[in-house]
Symmetry: D3
Subunit: 315 residues, 6 copies
């Protein structure tokens, strides 16, 4: 039984690799996307057992997702195959260095049909961390119910809950996300938001004040991502600020998920909070400097090489 | 106002260009698919004005479709942009030379929201041919109603109706297609089925008998496609059989649409039926021997070159 | 009849996408190049009717050009097909970040055979703007005569003339360009030069002084492009300086044409000069940050999104 | 513990996808090769548990191999990571339709350092089939000793041994292969040779006589592969000949491994020999008609679709 | 000084690798084309010294050509660099398996400015064979004069002249080719035409009669290429017919040049005519079965492997 | 006989062109690598005759190397073809902007079997410069002996020896490199180290002190590469510091070899040391700003264009 459990949708993502409007792009690369799946791979590469709960379609894209996660050692025994609905997909468009878009084909996807009955209480109960994001409750009513059911199970077994708001405006009607995500946040022990998300949820812009809001709602630890400025950790007792390592940004997607994975793994290893934050930051930086959502997620050994990059590099 | 009018869904199609299961394919080419759009381009390249009626999403894929059809000179003034629903897409998989599949993401697409009110009576009324396929009525109830409305307009203005059954089993529940397509066939003056479709609709396998069935239902001309064996034309008065030119098959998709386009253009030019069938056959053969659904559709000049291919070819 | 009319050569451009000498490049992408065609697409995307006058060869490259411009909605009724001469092409070489070259195969191209008789007086007469560049008069004697003829028509019908010097040294013998371009500049109401071009024409380097030179020759408005430093607008009454938006430069080609398009569209909308300059600048910046000469040209809606890029971007 | 166990080297294979001498090829695709790994994936896809024993290097190519096999569900608990030696690789060259070559970089590879001590007796003892090929004993003395050790374990636990000679002349000195492979063949219950291999080992060309030779040496079943002519099964009691399904050959590599996998799975299901041979043949045909060594290996469901390919295929 | 000397134009050729009209192709591969350059490489690979005389532009494409020929060991000391004119290029279009086209950009190319003064009498005089084709005299008046000058030098030094008519209709006005090529043929000792060319020159279709025509004009040996049917050699004394080896046709371009090279090398080695014809045929077959104009030209060792292809091929 | 002679291993290098771990890369480009081969091409492009001594395998990769060097005009008469050992290859991995790796398959390569007997005394004796690097002595004992033999020949004929330490830790056991390279350095007249290498050899970090160490060991000139900070030249008489031109770094590999080539060519031309250093710097900068190890090496003409890059560049 895995030490960390998460649930959510994984999708196949199609990317054109140039700064060009999607209508003019002629060829696309297939990849794997999905915040919770990224997180799971991140945790596994850092050496901790992890399980990912979801639904996928009985189609080549579902096979692609499940085989990729298996190859990384993520436990997929909690994944159901939905014969009636397709695996979700999406397209990434980079019009230019300012304008970027995603186009989802995930409405009615297999994952959006997750139901509370998909959850195996024992599976969650034997974990130490349940990690949830703000994406899953936006997918459908049954997905939202599934998230609440997972929270309920975790609470009843004293499993620590970590929560990344991961606001995707395209998935929400109007401002509904505020109500739902703030409600979920109440149950979280660890909250891992981005600064921008803090602003959207509370309408305030000062990092520490945002973190305090979450603490007031019950969180014990808030690790706030500040992009290429680093990260800030706030508890009732202390505030720690950590600069980010300087890397060439190649592909920012997946950095937040890597951050979450690094932080949770640090905690599970019993490290000091400052060290957890440093690992989170470094994993995020490595992901940002590598192509692909998932390919850049490092092993512990690679984190060490990254940190010691002053040693001679042969090319 | 165009001489030929057709209506249906166009989609963006993503293809991996090797015989490889979709789950292992890594890169995909973007193209334009859709039987009626293919037909429209085919008619236009052969020199006849044509209009295509549809709905597309307000997204890059919709732009791609509309710009492509514009570039070919197809009249798109009857196309509505649907702000609320995406343009349909699909994936083609060639597992090997025996097994091929398509994976649609067209449920709830913009085109599936076509309604009878989208039709402009004067637009259809001023044409000489209305071309419909068996795909559109399978897309949604409103699409089916739209097809019937178009038939009603055509009938009330004495516009000739041509009909290609184009059976797509993935779009139909069970055997519902039989009832619907046979009902529509009653209104058609010209029917352009494949041999396989004849078998599916009537449960009989002999080409001439299949054609007779359509004649009994009211058709004046039946042009039956026999794949690489050529085609057979049947009216109350005569049966004409025409062999196919021998070409290397590169990509069979779109050949039937090209056949339809060639046949209709021949008729509109007042050619003898035998010559119409020959043009239909040759257009189909050229499409089959070229990559892409639409790229291979020939101009009249290219048909002539094709026919005279015994002249010296410089390489 | 279009509101804006321009004339010039469009070519197919082949690019190797790496910093590598052309002799070592192994694969090339096909695109569409040509300052006036870029300008026309830019104007059209911003919502104003535009016609492009030219000659293309009766060959696949001519088809490619004409279909692309049609797909964008540019009026091509003034384009002649030349059966005897090929469509011009060229190759772009980026040796490295310092040395770049172009290799033209346009001598004797279809467009170089444009003649004054190709022009339809009524077509130009019904426009509001005639846009010419310094490239066309360099192509051949007949092209130069055609440009003068267009100017003559415009003048006799009180059509505003805008002029972008667009100096291409490879097309000119020695310093002949000075004489010709300064002669043409006399007829222009609006001049849209680059700073470098000002230096080449007048031998002076101070932006405002360069602009004054053009005003002295009869121009009413001079909008001087200063690259990533922005742009300066000078009239007899005022001088306006506008900084450029900060973008990641992806492909600088076409930025000047986009600038011209933005400026002219602003004027046609009756905007204040400062707003015209801002639109020109923003269109240029968007083009610079996108791959391809033409693909990045924005719609008005995309300009708005670009300007409001501080809103949350989902990736 | 897996039902089938095999051991051997897997390599990363680099292929240029055109008929072009390797020295002129400019780009290469990475894939996974190795007869026993192919066999293992084939068995797994057909629904039977399988374990693959080997050594891989501690390098990206080793990771690639192990992750791929994991993703397919092959048990890799018997794989050792060798920190001192690299994972083997090779290049495939198709000069033209007549001349093909491979270029190995596998001398001193991790797998060539397999030793008898790598084997876990219990792991093999709990299987029903041990599958070995003639490649492994050619890799090194320790590899040969490891094969003999595996045979010894199998024999002492009454595990059925299947053997595919898989002669690779590049790996053998002169005619040494004859002595070694004929010695190993004595221990095999099932022998799965190609016709060509029969000729090389015994110097005779008649299929049934070749099979008899193996039966005389102690084999109970010989299934002889006859390429696109099908296969022949010979036991003391009967001779069965089975034609091959007609497919378009896309990539012949891996077909023999697929044949072996199909045959063994049929046996394990308790099927009649004729049915085992049919499955072997069909798996081989599907692999031959698909790109890649491993990608084409079918599931049972795909075999059924392949067999029923007369049903309507939507494209 | 090389044993064989030839003269002609080499060009850079751009190919789209699919059966698709050129206007829709998006990416192109760069290669090297030109009958005499192919011939020269063919001769060199078979082990005989050869020199190629031409002009190239001072541009990357000229560099590409000269470096490629140098790398193959062709003597290029007789090549002039023309600073004023570009290297010729062309595009190959394969619309489908029936229609193929080339689009030349070679008018005014560097090579078309070859003049008799470019020839070094001693260079030709010290060779044993001068090989000319019917392409060079079609390029320009000065090229034609250069060919006649080369013939004159060869004749005055008793150098054997071999001649391949290589009719390229696109380069000739009307039927002018007949007059010119038949005039040149009078000077040839060895003529190496295709059957189709024989028909075009003499209006007769029977192979042996065509050959006789050339013999009547003074040739000593005529080796007539019959495509995939093989070749026929005719002298005053004998007629030899040789079947072609059966290969999968991958790219027919360059096969005739390879045939010429094989035949000439056989003669220079003093082989019997039958053996010369066999080598010519086999070289042609190998080229046809390999991608690229030049890449497939074999060494003598590869010819041997090709002939002995019955030996075991490892894949 | 060439003016400059060098010896070492050239390899085929396979690169994935993205920041992605090698295990996830799917396609690779083939190139040519090897410090001494780079150096030789650099010298040749700058206009000085150069010979490269080595061994290559009798395989397509050996052909590729030898043909490439021939095409550049490098004298390869001193290269032996080793029928028993393969040409070395390697893979470059760019995990991200911080972590880069190489994976060699060069153990037991043809070049590692170089022996002193491969050297032709007259060939070296007639040169003015012998250039050696610290890579060759690391390849094998016989390679090391060959380097010493070359030094001995050079010394006995008063040939100037230039030496680039080129430390490749992967090729050395522990700190063995210090002993060997410092021993070789004693024989060098010109030493061309990187700053980092100076630190590794002497354990000191101050550029001038590092240079002095080499002078103390007998060098007459030390040109120390300081990366993008430029270079420093130190002799007994003077110290010259030269800033680097500012370029966009595209591919740093080969820059050091280009630096060496520029410096040596300057010396051979009898230039002042400051000018030699400037050429070395500029060649290095041009290489760094171009893709590929070798493709960016400039001709003297290109160096001039680079230096005068303020002139108008047409794009």
């Amino acid at each position: 039984m895995p030490t960390v459990v998460t649930l959510g949708e994984a999708m196949v993502v199609f990317t054109s690799e140039e700064y060009i409007p999607l209508e003019y792009a002629t060829s696309f690369k297939k990849g794997l996307g999905g915040a919770e799946a990224n997180f799971a791979v991140g945790v596994r590469r850092l050496g901790v057992d992890v399980g990912w709960i979801s639904r996928i379609g009985k189609d080549p894209f579902g096979n692609f997702i499940i085989k990729n996660l298996k190859s990384e050692g993520v436990d997929v025994s909690g994944v159901k195959i939905d014969e009636d609905h397709p695996t979700g997909i999406y397209f990434k468009e980079k019009r230019n260095s300012i304008i970027a878009n995603v186009y989802y084909y995930r409405k009615g996807s297999a994952a959006s049909f997750m139901v509370p009955e998909d959850l195996d209480e024992g599976y969650i109960a034997s974990a130490k961390i349940l990690h949830i994001t703000g994406i899953t409750p936006a997918l459908s009513d049954t997905c939202r119910a599934t998230v609440y059911k997972a929270i309920e199970i975790a609470k009843s077994h004293n499993i620590t809950i970590s929560f990344d708001p991961n606001i995707r405006l395209k998935l929400w009607k109007d401002n509904e996300y505020k109500r739902v995500l703030l409600d979920i946040a109440q149950y979280a022990d660890i909250v891992l938001p981005g600064l921008e998300e803090g602003k959207m949820l509370f309408g305030i812009t000062e990092p520490e004040s945002i973190a305090k809001k979450f603490l007031d709602m019950g969180a014990k630890i808030v690790a706030l991502k500040l992009g290429n400025k680093g990260a800030m950790l706030v508890t009732q007792e202390q505030t720690i600020y950590q600069l980010s390592s300087k890397v060439k940004e190649v592909d920012p997607v997946g950095a937040g998920d890597g951050f979450d994975a690094g932080f949770i793994v640090g905690l599970l290893r019993g490290w000091e909070l400052k060290e957890c934050l440093r690992l989170a930051n470094d994993v995020g930086a490595i992901v940002v400097s590598t192509k692909g959502d998932m390919e850049g997620l490092p092993t512990m050994e690679e984190v060490e090489i990254f940190r010691g990059n002053m040693v001679h590099i042969e090319r």
